[in-house]
Symmetry: C2
């Protein structure tokens, strides 16, 4: 979790089609928990190159316009970006403390780096996300390489990067969700739903908590 | 996250030896965030039998007496318990919202089921943990099989289980930590430490955030 600032959140609707059915309860949870900044953080699990699970807190940056893909800002030097080409499988765990509910979102990652053509929509979205970050969040992408032995303090005070053009260390990470699990701990018995895709259609069902 | 009740927390010290060095900042975080019940929840990532990462919220039940292993209560019918014999690798992600710090704890799982001899310490600890659960949390271990199609409401009102003797569905899950990563988001630049074991000794170092 490099960047603590949640910045602006992109469009929340899919103009081109129906939203996935887990989007509605997720939007409700985000709304009901909005008094807590950490309700926009979730835990992203992937598998490392050594086969070991990896788990870290990241900041939700909204949905990619026109669909249900979650957006996250990441550093191309991070372990998740390094492992991504070989290990795109992911599971989000998103717990909302105020309303006591959990979403587990299974899916695959797509990393949009500076190699993306600025003319293509994903490359444009990467730039747009960069422009919504705070100055402090942007500066982190010029810090010394994450997880290396601690560099001297002077290495953490670079000249501010261009607020319009992201550096090569900045990437947009997209999570394409293929399965979702929603658990409400409130109530007895608890409520739980499972959503999965069959072809292009989502199917949902109530399951045991 | 079946059981919402955090119950009693077991002994927090290692009478027989030195605590791992990440225990002290973790204890401090637990103390400073104690006003929030969810500070005792963390996200546990494992790898499923299909190789996909799995991620869910669980409740911290304290440290196994005399060491640094984290304790979690789990249902033997859950996916993590089913996958455990083949996939014991795990990574905990534990975010503390009030103090804005994150612990990532990498380690291996040990599942203590009803097959553990009641005469052995782990079997006794399983019983002891069962006895600290609330009536409501205990009842969940008699509910219908998790993640199956929703059973009728009457299936969720079984006779209360014995408060002293756990049912076979109840297991104690231990996490033996071999690496730890502690990130403090407060402050600029942020602070981050990495701890790992070399032989029987822990080594810690400051790393770049």
């Amino acid at each position: 979790m490099g960047a603590g600032d949640i910045g602006g959140v992109m469009g929340d609707l899919s103009p081109g089609g129906a939203m996935a059915p887990w989007r509605s309860p997720l939007s409700r949870a985000l709304h009901r928990n909005r008094s807590r900044p950490e309700s926009r953080y979730f835990q992203l699990a992937t598998v490392g190159l050594d086969g070991w699970p990896c788990n870290r807190t990241v900041v939700f940056r909204g949905f990619y316009p026109g669909g249900d893909r979650l957006m996250v800002a990441t550093d191309t030097r991070s372990a998740k970006a390094q492992a991504y080409p070989d290990r795109p499988a992911a599971e989000v765990c998103w717990y909302f403390a105020k309303t006591r509910e959990q979403f587990r979102l299974r899916g695959t990652l797509t990393l949009v780096t500076g190699e993306a053509d600025e003319g293509n929509p994903a490359g444009q979205q990467r730039q747009a996300l960069w422009q919504t970050l705070s100055d402090g969040a942007r500066l982190q992408f010029l810090w010394p390489t994450p997880a290396q032995p601690r560099a001297p303090e002077t290495a953490f005070t670079p000249s501010p990067p261009d607020p319009l053009i992201p550096p090569l260390t900045f990437a947009l990470l997209l999570i394409t969700v293929t399965e979702a699990d929603h658990l409400e701990l409130r109530g007895s018995p608890q409520n739980r739903w499972h959503y999965h895709q069959v072809g292009n259609q989502w199917q949902g069902m109530a399951i045991n908590p």
